[in-house]
């Protein structure tokens, strides 16, 4: 009897200590970071999916023990993609929530919150905006998303070196999206020995492109680089093909959208698009990621590559916390910035390798997708330099 009571007591004690330890692990103070994204308003369609991707990444990180036993937690705030609201949210994250790092997106929002991040010395990670200006926003603003220089440089070199195209025409939309990229394409293509035969542009409000396209037709290029938006690029290409311009068109991530194929069908002709994130055609984790979307939401995410980058930003934050913890430093924005520059190379599940440079740019691979007979097919990878 005594023996039985003794065994039972030991069992109860073991259970008590085990459960106490378990409870202690669960109640450990989480490592927090800010996630300022548009959750309502016109951009919510994309913002909400990006937040969802980050929340699943956090779920996965915590399921594997978090950061040395402490869970990772996101403080999600709504910016509505509005710079004014973005400033309020960034201020709240820095001064009320006191997070040392926050993730945000939309170039106008990133530009607006940059002074807050710099003043409060909180690390701001821009994920999604590709304007080169993002690299010039101050000491505490870094991007985890490749800026326009990566894909445009890559595709210009690829056209010259691998496709033997010597005469290029450039057609761009006359706004921030088109201007810089078109200039960069010309510079790179000319520098490696190519000839730019004509440069044409169109206004964002244009509904007809005949004049510019006929100028391109007359200049008879080997290849045409188009830097437009997903809204106008299909109709530019449609008019191009209607006018009998059948040269290969290269473009950037912005038009990598099923809509392009739906709107053009087989009339799309030969189009090569630079994707900044691998997709399920050639990267298995993305396939699993898309299956998760279908299982939980019954659909694929809006703006897939952006969700991949925002999802992976949780892994970047995890790596930063691990570095600061290992160095036994206080969890401040200054130390998070130090961690970013010390770690620099991040291996993430959905995007792969992301290399953050000291000049606030990012190197990553560019994936070339070719439209063949009205379908996207993987063409080649331009590795991260």
């Amino acid at each position: 009897m005594k023996k039985a009571i003794f065994v039972l007591s030991v069992l109860v004690l073991v259970l008590f200590f085990f459960s106490a330890d378990y409870t202690n692990a669960q109640t450990k103070e989480p490592y927090r970071f800010g996630l300022a994204m548009p959750m309502t308003g016109g951009q919510a369609l994309f913002g909400a999916d990006q937040v969802q991707a980050a929340l699943w990444a956090i779920e996965d990180i915590n399921a594997k023990g978090g950061i040395n036993g402490r869970p990772l937690e996101a403080v999600v705030l709504d910016t509505q993609a509005d710079p004014k609201l973005g400033i309020s949210m960034a201020t709240r994250l820095a001064t009320v929530e006191k997070v040392p790092v926050f993730v945000t997106a939309w170039s106008s929002v990133v530009a607006a919150v940059a002074p807050v991040a710099n003043r409060q010395k909180v690390l701001c990670l821009s994920v999604g905006a590709n304007s080169p200006k993002i690299a010039e926003l101050g000491e505490y603003v870094y991007t985890a998303y490749p800026l326009a220089n990566v894909d445009i440089t890559g595709v210009a070199k690829y056209a010259f070196n691998k496709m033997n195209k010597r005469r290029a025409a450039v057609l761009y939309i006359n706004n921030d999206t088109g201007l810089y990229a078109a200039r960069l394409y010309q510079e790179v293509f000319k520098k490696i020995g190519g000839e730019i035969v004509t440069v044409q542009s169109y206004e964002p409000t244009a509904t007809d492109y005949t004049g510019a396209l006929l100028q391109i037709k007359q200049s008879n290029p080997d290849i045409i680089h188009l830097q437009g938006l997903v809204a106008d690029s299909p109709q530019v290409i449609a008019q191009m093909r209607q006018l009998g311009i059948h040269q290969t068109v290269t473009s950037y991530q912005g038009i990598y959208n099923q809509k392009l194929l739906d709107q053009l069908g087989e009339a799309a002709g030969d189009i090569i698009i630079c994707a900044m994130a691998p997709d399920d055609m050639f990267h298995a984790p993305v396939k699993a990621y898309l299956e998760r979307w279908k299982a939980r939401k019954g659909r694929t995410p809006y703006g897939l590559p952006y969700t991949q980058y925002v999802g992976d930003s949780a892994y970047i934050v995890k790596a930063l916390y691990e570095w600061v913890e290992a160095k036994k430093l206080p969890f401040t924005g200054e130390n998070m910035r130090k961690a970013l520059l010390a770690v620099r190379t991040f291996e993430t599940p959905l995007v792969g390798k992301i290399i953050v440079n000291e000049d606030h740019t990012v190197n990553s691979a560019t994936y070339l997708i070719r439209v063949v007979k009205g379908k996207f097919t993987y063409m080649d990878t331009i590795p991260a330099e």
């Binding site: 244009a206 005949t210 100028q215 449609a238 709107q263």
Partner: protein, 294 residues
Amino acid sequence: MILQIIWTSITSSSYYILFAVSFALVLKVTKIWNFAQPGFMTTAFYMMYWATNNLSLPIPLSLSIALIITILASWAVDKYAFGTLRRVKSGGFTFFIFTLIFSEFVAYLFTLLFGTEPFTVFPNIFSPVIPVGGIVVSYWDLRAVTITGILLAGLYAFLRWSKPGRFLIAVSNNDRLAELYGISSRQAYTLSMVLAGILCTFGMYILGTKIAVHTHLSLSLILFAVAATVMGGIGNVFSAAMAAVFLSLLQGFSVLIIPSRWQNLLLYFFFFMVIITMPSGFLSFVRTMKGRRE
């Protein structure tokens, strides 16, 4: 190349013509600068898109649904908003502000319902082409020109030969005098708004089968309609149509001479000069000069 630009500019002006005529007609009859028109244009497009893509209805049915809803919206705005403002004898500025707010409201309403993603009426926008004497003519071109031609001819016939059409002209010339002859200016105002709704719906059908439309596109398109109305001379509905063609040609050809980024500047400089030097409109000015020479 020149012939191609002329042809494409004319076909591309088709929807601009309908928007300009619609704007000019309401201005002529009601004396209201109807910046609520983008709201009707947005409504027409999204109803058409919704009926075609969400309800999978054939285009004649979708177009009919869009027509009914846009006409109802035009009627409701005239009856409940303009009517109220008229009753309290509001000034032109109040009407102007109301119409702007209405269009913004509609744009944000449809943004909430459909998002910011641009849509086309049909999933595929590629229109087959036929070469005609060295000019590329697409099926879309033919459809746009035909619809616009029929609508303009119909409107002309309606205003010239039908009783309600003549009443409309009478009210636009002098509404008080028209009232003395037993013509209801109230009904004429409503009729002009309904006609504007019809023109806008067909304009958005032509536009939406060529380019992707988003919720704020109509607000930028209306500036072109205003420019054409002023250039054509306020009160000249069909001159606004001619001005729309002229502006479209001007834009098309300017690409050959100046970079595209100067296009809008050129357009607005021209517009600015017309307002300053020819307040009664460019076409009226040309007619006056011709008359003087004769």
